[in-house]
């Protein structure tokens, strides 16, 4: 039966927003036991849909027109008390950030307990039993003990399970999940998805899953709905939308998340420009007076980068990839081992001596919003490098202006401030800044991770283009194996400070040796438009057991 029906929903945005409506004329249907994935980039309005269903729209936004029907009852007609009874009972929600979704001052069990109490379970003993049952059902160990824990004592994956347990307290007919796995690592993500599938099958629950990640869509969706800037672009069964997308936008999105190399890969055998030999780095953190925690961030890391090559370093958070990047660019000093720039050992050089060599190796950073000084004009930012290296103001300005054009920004960008630009544009500014000193080597530290899929592709293409033109050698650090596969000639996989596997991209993807590489590979979407199905893709499908 049709559990949820949305008819021509329009949610107006206040004046001054970038468009008139958060959602415009959106219609959809969801049956019991079905999983509908709502896909879109940031700003597509997909989160607004979830909030509207729970009548939790932030104050300036309202439902302008359209109907939300749950079990054939118009939600707009319900009183607040009635709505409150629906929430947490018939319709439940799971949010994105498990850390912030849980009150840090309350025990985990108590937060589930209060839901039970709010919806009428009077007996304390009964509630306690149910809390333990729920925690066990979502796969948490020792539920009796765990219910007394505080959120900060649990890992990200465990917290998300608690949030799911909370949502399941009353076997809701509809579960809305808003990007529940985006903050988790690949392994945990797979586990949570598996859990949600299991719950769906056990309880015949309808699942409205909001995401931007096609891997997840592949794993769990029965039907898919694509949103662009608040409007429905395409809707259909998972197979249909993923394999035979009709709308141009969907096709672009799918192309952007394919793992296809941007340009045909060539064999690289030029001279070695960057070398890391047996790098080690240990971090000490102090909590309290006497507690000291030691983390081995890098363990005997060995890498080489040849001229004109793109080397990918892939790993999840905690793998040491960021530390490696910072050691390579000498923001950090390794505890032992060697870093060589163009054959010269720079591991222990003082900052003063290093300054002259810095123009050879530059870095592009991750956060487009924090990597540019908000108080300087774009022109000034890009000119910083040449000025510091001793060039004249005129020369610095000349370089800056030409680079801004080269990275695809308008000439007027020179006089403007960073906050006037979008995320993708700011990354371009960051690239221009790095190129202003005419480096031979670029270290890109997660420089596309904060961008939407379509913008990501643009930046990757820009990097590819610049590499060809300026004969750059690039070290590309990312957590996303798929993105690395698009750009990199060779890939090194890191886990826990070690490089567990290294090799040519095609070979690595087709025949991963290490178990961790295989896990990462499973996290890549296998979808691709028919034209991009290649032997590599097919083989990787076989290499992984299918999703639960």
């Amino acid at each position: 039966m049709t559990l949820l029906r949305v008819e021509n929903l329009r949610i107006a945005l206040p004046a001054g927003a970038d468009r008139s409506h958060a959602l415009y004329d959106l219609s959809l249907q969801l049956r019991s036991g079905e999983c509908l994935c709502v896909v879109g980039e940031s700003g597509s309005g997909k989160s607004m849909l979830a909030k509207a269903l729970l009548r939790q729209l932030p104050t300036p936004l309202t439902v302008e027109s359209g109907r939300l029907l749950f079990r054939d009852e118009d939600l707009a007609n319900l009183s607040e008390t009635a709505m409150r009874q629906l929430r947490g009972r018939d319709i439940s929600m799971v949010f994105q950030e498990p850390m912030s979704a849980l009150n840090p001052l309350l025990r985990v069990g108590e937060q589930i307990d209060e839901t039970l109490r709010a919806h009428g379970v009077k007996s304390a003993q009964e509630r306690r039993r149910r809390v333990v049952d729920l925690l066990g059902y979502v796969g948490l160990p020792e539920p009796e003990r765990l219910r007394l824990a505080y959120p900060f004592e649990l890992s990200g994956g465990q917290r998300q399970r608690v949030v799911i347990a909370m949502a399941l307290a009353f076997d809701p007919s509809l579960l809305i999940a808003d990007e529940p796995t985006s903050a988790l690592d690949v392994t945990t993500q797979a586990q949570i998805i598996g859990l949600l599938r299991k719950i769906q099958q056990d309880k015949g629950m309808a699942l409205l899953f909001i995401t931007h990640d096609f891997t997840v869509v592949e794993a769990i969706a029965d039907r898919v709905l694509v949103l662009e800037k608040g409007q429905l672009v395409e809707q259909g069964s998972a197979h249909q939308v993923l394999r035979e997308p009709q709308a141009l936008y969907t096709q672009q999105l799918l192309a952007a998340v394919s793992a296809q190399p941007l340009a045909p890969r060539t064999l690289v055998d030029g001279p070695v420009v960057l070398k890391a030999k047996q790098l080690n780095k240990v971090f000490h953190s102090h909590s309290g007076w006497w507690r000291k925690r030691t983390t081995q961030a890098l363990a005997q890391v060995q890498l080489t980068l040849r001229e004109g090559e793109t080397l990918g370093i892939v790993g999840e958070s905690g793998s040491g990839k960021s530390t490696l990047g910072r050691c390579l660019v000498r923001l950090l000093r390794a505890d032992s081992g060697q870093v060589q720039w163009l054959g010269q050992d720079v591991t222990t050089l003082s900052d003063g001596r290093l300054r002259a060599l810095r123009s050879d190796v530059q870095m592009i950073f991750q956060d487009p919003f924090a990597s540019l000084n908000p108080r300087q004009t774009v022109g000034r930012i890009v000119m910083t490098g040449p000025l510091v290296q001793g060039h004249s103001k005129a020369e610095a300005e000349r370089r800056a202006r030409s680079l801004l054009v080269l990275v695809g920004l308008p000439a007027t960008a020179f006089e403007r401030y960073p906050h006037e630009f979008s995320g993708g544009q700011r990354q371009r500014i960051g690239i221009a800044r790095a190129l202003a000193v005419e480096p031979k080597i670029l270290i890109a530290d997660e420089c596309v991770s904060a961008l939407d899929a379509l913008i990501q592709v643009q930046i990757l293409e820009l990097l590819e283009d610049l590499q060809r033109r300026l004969k750059l050698s690039i070290v590309f650090i990312t957590h996303d194996l798929r993105v690395a596969a698009r750009l990199c000639d060779r890939i090194a996989v890191m886990q826990g400070g070690h490089v567990v596997e290294q090799g040519e991209t095609a070979a690595l993807l087709a025949h991963p040796h290490h178990a961790y590489t295989q896990t990462l590979l499973r996290g890549c979407p296998r979808t691709a438009s028919p034209s991009t199905v290649t032997p590599e893709n097919l083989e990787s499908k076989e290499a992984c057991p299918n999703h639960g």
Binding site: R87, G88, S92, L105, A118, S287
Partner: protein
Amino acid sequence: MNGVLYLGGRLLKALLMVVAVLVLIFLLIRLAPGDPALLLAGEAGVDDVQFIEQLRQTMGLDKPLLQQLLMYLGNIAHLDLGYSYRNQTSVWSLIAERLPATLALMGSAFVLSSVLGVTLGVLAARARQKRHWLDGVISHGALLLYAMPPFWLAMLLILVFSVILDWLPAFGMESVGKDFSLLDRVQHLLLPCVSLSVMFLALYIHLTRAAVLEALGQEYVRTAHAKGLHPRRILWVHVLRNALLPVVTFAGLQIGQLASVALLVEVVYSWPGIGRLMYDSLAQRDYGVLMGGFLVISILVVGFNVLTDVICRFLDPRIGAGGQG
């Protein structure tokens, strides 16, 4: 176990602070221009040569500085804060006599300002959420209250309530010549208490409002709402409980200020507390009493600070557990 360690750490810190206060006082006496012994003897005692000699002995002025400090610390440990020549009695007995009056004043003002301040702060935050005009009234009112010098405000209150309206007394802690009566005491306490509370009321309003607004924007409040919890539960358990933390921390830090302003209020109302004592000894140049008062108040303040730290630890399991780092 963690809790006990935390308490131990805090007590150690408190002890170190008290010692620091003592060293500070010690240095102040020595750094002042002129003879330290003359300074402590005060205006009244300068002429008594024997007394001065005795002081020099007790302070050990001929000995090396470090030894002087140790002698001083030793004296303090025996509750020997010095002797007030003017009043012909020990400094400690002078202070001990006045202590209850000051505690009554500070205690009542603390309760009034914190309870009323937090309440109004919560109201202001909720009003802001609903874009209600009450927020503007409370916030701007608080600002106005903060800008008023406490002693000036005290005088205005006397003018209105005592001089013009003749509702309340303006002098001292009790009516002269009458027997003990609780009502009488309360009447005398009322104006001083309000005068002292006003500045801190403003601060509590401002802080609570900010803390509540921040808590209201948190993700876990949205989750609580999505779970279908009753708004009252959301407010009390999720919003207030979390917003209370910075407020309690603040209370701990502000207690020193409260003691300072109490001094001003005691002067205006001739309230028989430590502050009034210190003002009198200031006029009489009886610095021994002044330092002694400062020491006692500082100890009180540090002690209260430890108390609020412990309360914070109790409210927030993350503190001292090293979990959050």
